[in-house]
């Protein structure tokens, strides 16, 4: 049994940021990560069959990828599949790095729109941590967006735009809509150590061999380990244990050899993501916490939010070659972000320019959800789309609902026999009204940009990239799991700092907010450390 000041479960976006922050304040930090380091040599971007990685070793769905370190997820009750990577760096190993911030109104949904709940903190509480995070990891973009509060000069300039993007900019200008080059956790110039500027190779979603993506394993982890953090890989945590007073005592985990071990700590931080965190807490049953740790309210696992996503792809006569260049959101249109009740729904959505994919992914239906037809005319059909299409990702705010939830599956387990999660989710009434409106706006944009055909996947099944809400933050212990510092209402040395704590989802990718929250919570733990375990 080993003892640390702080034990973190999960080395992803949140765990990495917290490990760095706590360790620079002199705390002895250990992080247990079920996955392993991904070696640069594992990336396939230098091979002609690189697109196959999307279907196999770098598949974003752990149920398909099935690495030994992945845990299965019962997804029979959800139209949207939860996606993630279980490795050092977590899901930032193969993300797209689109890095917008939430807006001030996102934290005040109850006050402004009379629905859901307000967060127990404001945008302005988080703002210094957004800035700190950007400065630590490196963000490309351009300050001055009138659609968002002011922010500091971005670490590197916006990524380059080409003829493919120009088509949409023309369309946006014609419609008079807002747009701005997105903040991206992807460096356009050299920044940090051992990282190159993005050379626009394209398939960011199967990893970044140049380390241009500001992923947790190439940003925070080298710094955190330099500060002395002990990162233990192949360590799958089964349970958070408690002492006789109901305080977190540590964890029980399986090491690489499958041996069960205990690791104790003064403070335990769970950063296993919006599915892994409720799974772990619900599996941590004790006489003091018979419904699972920190689950007196019964809310652990509830209020799961994903962001409903549609893909709207414009097909153009001229070749755009949008398969070249970073895959993520290069440009963000937030014309429809804030509530306008005349649209028939509350809250809003954004339209992200997401470029395109290579011929194989195109043939297999990567853009429209429907594979290119086989047989006579196949080449013509592929040639019409490949090099000629560019996709808009339509992402709506998902409202929190108690019935959308992660529970423990009665049968399914991981390779070690630890019970696996069961996800039940259905699209809410507001999303059902919002998404058709949002898709129609994206179609309008494609047409204004000059598209000759528009392909629509109205609800992308493989789009559970954003895992939020399952240990929600709030002031009221009956209506939330943790407080504004990520501290459990029931267990004062237990913290949750990942996307689980989101009270509402906003309509933007969550990771800049997840990391800002992680840094803010870690700061608070450092400052109050002595009081947390006395």
């Amino acid at each position: 049994m080993t003892k640390s000041d702080v034990l973190i479960v999960g080395s992803g976006a949140a765990g990495a940021a917290a490990a760095w922050s706590l360790s620079r304040n002199g705390l002895k930090v250990t992080c247990l990560e079920q996955g392993r380091w991904i070696e640069k040599s594992e990336y396939s971007h230098g091979q002609s069959d690189y697109e196959l990685a999307r279907q196999s070793e770098f598949h974003k769905d752990p149920n398909v990828r099935r690495w030994p370190e992945d845990y299965p997820i019962n997804v029979s009750g959800t139209p949207i599949r939860p996606l993630m990577m279980n490795a050092v760096g977590g899901s930032t190993v193969h993300w797209s790095g689109h890095f917008p911030r939430m807006r001030p109104s996102d934290f005040r949904v109850r006050t402004l729109d009379g629905i859901a709940d307000d967060w127990p903190l404001t945008y302005w509480d988080l703002e210094p941590f957004y800035e700190l995070n950007d400065s630590m990891i490196g963000v490309s973009g351009l300050a001055g967006d009138p659609g968002n509060p002011p922010r500091g000069v971005r670490q590197t300039p916006p990524l380059g735009f080409d003829v493919a993007c120009e088509a949409y900019f023309r369309g946006l200008d014609k419609l008079g809509w807002h747009w701005w080059p997105s903040d991206n956790a992807l460096i356009s110039e050299v920044f940090g150590h051992d990282r190159s500027a993005c050379n626009g190779c394209g398939p960011c979603d199967i990893g970044c061999p140049t380390a241009s993506m500001s992923s947790a394993h190439v940003t925070y982890w080298p710094m955190a380990m330099g500060n002395g953090v002990d990162l233990i890989t192949h360590a799958r945590v089964e349970e958070v244990t408690v002492d006789e007073n109901g305080s977190a005592r540590g964890v029980v985990f399986r090491d690489e050899a499958g041996v069960r071990r205990e690791h104790t700590a003064r403070v335990v931080i769970v950063a296993a993501n919006g599915i892994g965190t409720p799974r772990l807490l619900l599996n941590s049953v004790s006489s003091q916490f018979p419904k699972g740790l920190a689950n007196h309210s019964g809310l652990v696992g509830t209020h799961l939010m994903f962001h409903p996503v549609g893909f709207v792809t414009g097909v153009f006569d001229e070749p755009l070659d949008a398969q070249r260049g970073p895959l993520g959101g290069l440009m963000n249109c937030q014309e429809f972000y804030e509530t306008d009740l005349s649209r028939g729904f509350v809250r809003g959505f954004e339209l992200q320019l997401s470029r395109s994919v290579g011929p194989l992914t195109t043939a297999n239906g990567g853009l429209s959800g429907v594979p290119v037809a086989w047989g006579a005319g196949h080449h013509r059909a592929l040639g019409k789309i490949y090099r000629h299409a560019i996709t808009i990702t339509v992402m709506g705010e998902d409202l929190p609902e108690e019935i959308n939830r992660v529970t423990i599956d009665p049968q399914l387990t991981d390779a070690d026999g630890t019970p696996a999660p069961l996800v039940r989710y259905r699209l809410g009434a507001n999303s059902k009204k919002m998404m058709p409106f949002a898709i129609a706006r994206a179609q309008e944009l494609c047409e204004a940009a000059g598209a000759v055909e528009v392909l629509v996947d109205p609800l992308v099944q493989d789009s559970g990239w954003h895992l939020m809400g399952t240990c929600r933050m709030g002031n009221d212990p009956e209506r939330s799991v943790v407080n504004q510092w990520g501290c459990s209402h029931e267990c004062r040395n237990l913290f949750v700092i990942d996307g689980s704590v989101f009270t509402t989802s906003g309509a933007v990718n969550p990771t800049s907010t997840i990391q800002a929250i992680a840094l803010r919570c870690a700061d608070w733990v450092s400052q109050n450390f002595q009081d947390l375990y006395a």
Partner: protein
């Protein structure tokens, strides 16, 4: 692994089927003529569940031809059989199509015909830097976010 190998007849059938899935047209060769069957074959040796699915599709195709062999049918008859199996064994057939596309579009000679001259790395692609004046219209609209 030997039980997961296609025999010569199955390979010949796969080759013929693939050339119907991706036929020769314009300047593009048929899938069966560029070695896609052996690529799929090699791949499936390591992927048992997918092997079973593709095998099921091939069996369904063979069984649908009555006394005749698929290879001996006319092209129109072959297409008719494939359309039938696509409906009667959709999951297995979809896997057969996917494996064929996977093999075809990862062939460097096919990629060259599509204008791809090498994988994305190490060269990547160059982009012009962003012209900030493009944003003048948006800036002129002033603040667009809600105070809270």
């Amino acid at each position: 692994m030997s039980e997961r190998l296609f025999n010569a007849e199955q390979l010949a059938l796969l080759t013929k089927v693939q050339s119907q899935l991706i036929p020769a047209e314009n300047d593009m060769p048929a899938a069966g003529s560029v070695g896609c069957a052996s690529i799929v074959h090699e791949f499936l040796r390591e992927h048992e569940e997918l092997y079973e699915l593709v095998l099921r599709a091939l069996d369904a195709i063979e069984k649908s031809t009555g006394d005749a062999s698929f290879i001996q049918l006319t092209s129109e008859e072959q297409i008719e059989i494939l359309r039938f199996v696509e409906k009667s064994a959709p999951e297995a057939f979809a896997e057969l199509v996917r494996q064929t596309y996977n093999a075809y579009y990862t062939r460097p000679e096919i990629q060259a015909k599509l204008g791809i001259h090498g994988p994305p790395q190490p060269d990547g692609f160059e982009f012009p830097s962003f012209d900030v004046s493009r944003l003048d219209r948006v800036k002129a609209r002033g603040k667009l976010w809600r105070d809270a």
